[in-house]
């Protein structure tokens, strides 16, 4: 059961401004049936004011609530103000959304942006430079960057919660991480370096070779790095270590602890047997 706020529940139970406007000045769209949520927003605009708005949403409770509250937020507002609305404003108006549902507010915001760009006759065709990152959910690099900027996202998981990118096959995870790395690499001081995937692999190998293996060899054991998958490090214990009853202890208390201390708290070491 999701922990929805009273506001969210009120909006999905009795959504406001449902339907379409036949003579709308602008219609914005976001999402798709395949992805599991799709939204259309219709704007009636007069003298640079949104005088009426309606929506149609295919999606879960929080998607309907986000669309419904968005129409309330923009009706009667001048376009200057409407333009400034972010996905965070939508979520805040609802008293917050569960982290996994933040993409619903992002979709609401995207539909609004889409409507406004059409109204101002901006070029809405996807730019060639705007690279498709997640093909499962059709999320582009620009969309991911916007979500990172608007919501101060730091981790891959957060990006997935806000944009859905990376939530299906996972093939795009490395690209998303690269976008995060690039964004923060250019922003954060050098004091806390963020490693690229390759740098990280080299570093893990280094620690295992120079600090862990040397210790184990003293006792007649050895260790081989087999594979690295995100935070999971697969190793093979050899020699004495593999037969030792305490090998799980060695693995957790020494190998994992060393990697965590040297590199990343999230690292998990898993033993594989050949």
């Amino acid at each position: 059961m999701w922990d929805y706020t009273k506001e969210v529940m009120e909006h999905y139970r009795n959504p406001k401004n449902v339907g379409k406007i036949d003579d709308a000045e602008a219609i914005g769209e976001a999402g798709s049936l395949v992805c599991g949520d799709a939204l259309k927003i219709y704007l009636k605009i007069k003298d640079n004011m949104v005088v009426d708005a309606k929506f149609q949403t295919f999606g879960c409770g929080s998607a309907v609530a986000s669309s419904s509250v968005l129409t309330e937020m923009i009706i009667g507002k001048p376009l200057d103000e409407v333009k400034k609305i972010t996905n965070k404003d939508i979520a805040d108006r609802l008293g917050g959304l569960p982290p996994e549902k933040m993409h619903c507010s992002v979709m609401g915001h995207e539909a609004l942006e889409n409507a406004l760009s059409k109204y101002f006759k901006e070029d809405v065709a996807p730019h060639e430079k705007d690279k498709m990152v997640c093909t499962c959910f059709s999320v582009t690099e620009k969309q991911i960057l916007n979500a990172i900027k608007d919501n101060n996202l730091k981790t891959l998981e957060e990006v997935t919660n806000y944009t859905k990118a990376g939530g299906a096959c996972g093939n795009c995870k490395a690209d998303i991480q690269a976008i995060l790395d690039k964004y923060y690499g250019s922003e954060i001081s050098k004091a806390k370096p963020i490693l690229t995937k390759t740098q990280r692999i080299i570093k893990i190998n280094d620690i295992i070779e120079n600090q862990i293996a040397t210790e184990l060899r003293k006792d007649g054991g050895d260790i081989d790095l087999i594979d690295i998958d995100d935070n999971k490090v697969y190793v093979e214990l050899k020699g004495c270590c593999s037969k030792c009853k305490n090998s799980t202890m060695t693995l957790k208390n020494f190998v994992e602890a060393t990697l965590r201390e040297m590199l990343d708290e999230k690292i998990e070491v898993i033993e594989v047997e050949k």
Binding site: R13, P15, K40, G59, T160, G167, Y234
Partner: protein, 400 residues
């Protein structure tokens, strides 16, 4: 909220504990607290109770001997014990076959095993949900350590022909072991491990009116398997840990009642399920059955409501006290809709709006009738929200 009267149609998720089961287990949470391994006669009471439960499970699945039954803490633990246990005792063989529609407790284990060097083949299903047996037959080879296949699917209720599957496997490779996840079959259809020639089989108490957190594993005698949980000598050294006596008593009693109730499942529960299903398919214009009509357990139906999202339907049903579940991505917290329905090729229009109703022997006709009357109203309300009005109009014209 109007949640005073609860209509619980989510029995594939979990079931209510039967009053008789509760009565049977309570003394073992109270005065009969002894450790069954103890030597004094006070311990003997607990020991006898565990032995009786083992007999009841043996009888429930028609195993040959009580020694083939091991108690565990869940269906997931039974599956993990079976799979890892067989592979561990059969190290040189690195090939496993399973299906695309297994429960995550099995699928995620295979993902892990793949990383550890196992080759896993996933057999697909057709749009009715039936397993592709020809592919299965072609896939078994000399290196196949294990075939793992569920008996009934938790989302659709589709039954796989286990007896036939066993024949196919054994005719290709005598040594390949068959593990059957029977968690959703137990209590719904008869289980006969001897007739079906099964090597290992898992069940879980909370799916047939015992409490959550107790399961059982059948291992045919003569089958080599290494324990997952190593420690004391309990369960003949195959599952360490002091026996959870009250819960073991509960699953035993629940199995006895479930066996008695099989006739009722096959007739009355099926009648109510069919009534619910056929009426909704008739009265709701955008409803479609997400499986074939045949080869299903009697309590389950999975219906897709096109162009509406499943979580939204569940939230609105919940306001009427109706509990069901959905294969939609949004309900589970994952972003992808049901892997089972996708494997069956359910169209995207219905995939996200799929609702599973699962009944039990406690479901009443009155409850089914209320759902039948509420469902069209909820769907009509939600249809208005959909951006796919033209498509919906078309459906209404075709099916309405």
């Amino acid at each position: 909220m109007k949640e005073k009267c609860l209509i619980y149609l989510d029995n594939n998720a979990t079931t209510r504990v039967d009053g008789q089961v509760l009565d049977a287990m309570l003394p073992f949470l109270g005065e009969n607290y002894a450790n069954p391994s103890s030597i004094y006669s006070f311990g003997g009471v607990a020991q006898k109770a565990v032995a009786k439960a083992r007999e009841q499970i043996r009888d429930f699945i028609n195993a040959k001997s009580d020694k083939e039954i091991f108690f565990t803490a869940s269906g997931s633990e039974s599956a993990n014990t079976a799979i890892r246990g067989v592979l561990e005792s059969n190290k040189p063989k690195k090939h496993i076959i399973t299906t695309k529609v297994e429960h995550p407790c099995v699928l995620n284990l295979y993902k892990t095993l793949e990383k550890q060097g196992y080759k896993v083949d996933y057999i697909g299903v057709d749009s009715n949900g039936d397993l592709n047996l020809d592919t299965l037959a072609e896939t078994v080879n000399a290196n196949t350590a294990l075939v793992s296949c569920m008996w009934a699917n938790n989302e659709t209720g589709i039954i796989f022909p286990i007896e036939k599957i066993s024949q196919i496997i054994k005719s290709k490779n005598q040594d390949t072991k068959l593990f059957v996840d029977a968690v959703q079959a137990a209590g719904k259809i008869p289980i006969d491990v001897q007739a079906a020639n099964i090597d290992l089989l898992s069940i879980s108490g909370h799916k047939f009116h015992a409490p959550k957190g107790v399961g059982a594993l059948y291992v045919k005698s003569g089958t080599l398997f290494s324990p997952l949980i190593i420690g004391g000598h309990q369960e003949r050294g195959k599952r360490a840990g002091t026996e959870n006596v009250p819960y073991i008593v509960a699953i035993g009693e629940a199995a006895r009642l479930a066996k008695e109730g099989l006739e009722y499942e096959a007739t009355e529960v099926k009648r109510l399920r069919d009534k619910l299903e056929s009426t909704i398919l008739k009265t709701v214009f955008n409803a479609r059955l997400n499986s074939g009509f045949n080869n299903r357990v009697p309590n389950t139906t999975n219906i897709g409501f096109e162009y509406i999202e499943g979580e939204l339907i569940l939230l609105h049903l919940s306001d009427f006290g109706i509990c069901a579940s959905s294969g939609s991505a949004c309900t589970s917290g994952s972003l992808e809709p049901s892997h089972v329905l996708r494997a069956m090729g359910v169209p995207f229009t219905a995939l996200h709006g799929s609702i599973r109703f699962s009944l039990s022997r406690f479901t009443t006709e009155k409850e089914v009738d209320s759902v039948i009357s509420i469902m069209p109203r909820v769907i009509e309300k939600l249809v208005k929200l959909s951006p796919f009005q033209n498509e919906l109009e078309e459906l209404r014209r075709l099916r309405g």
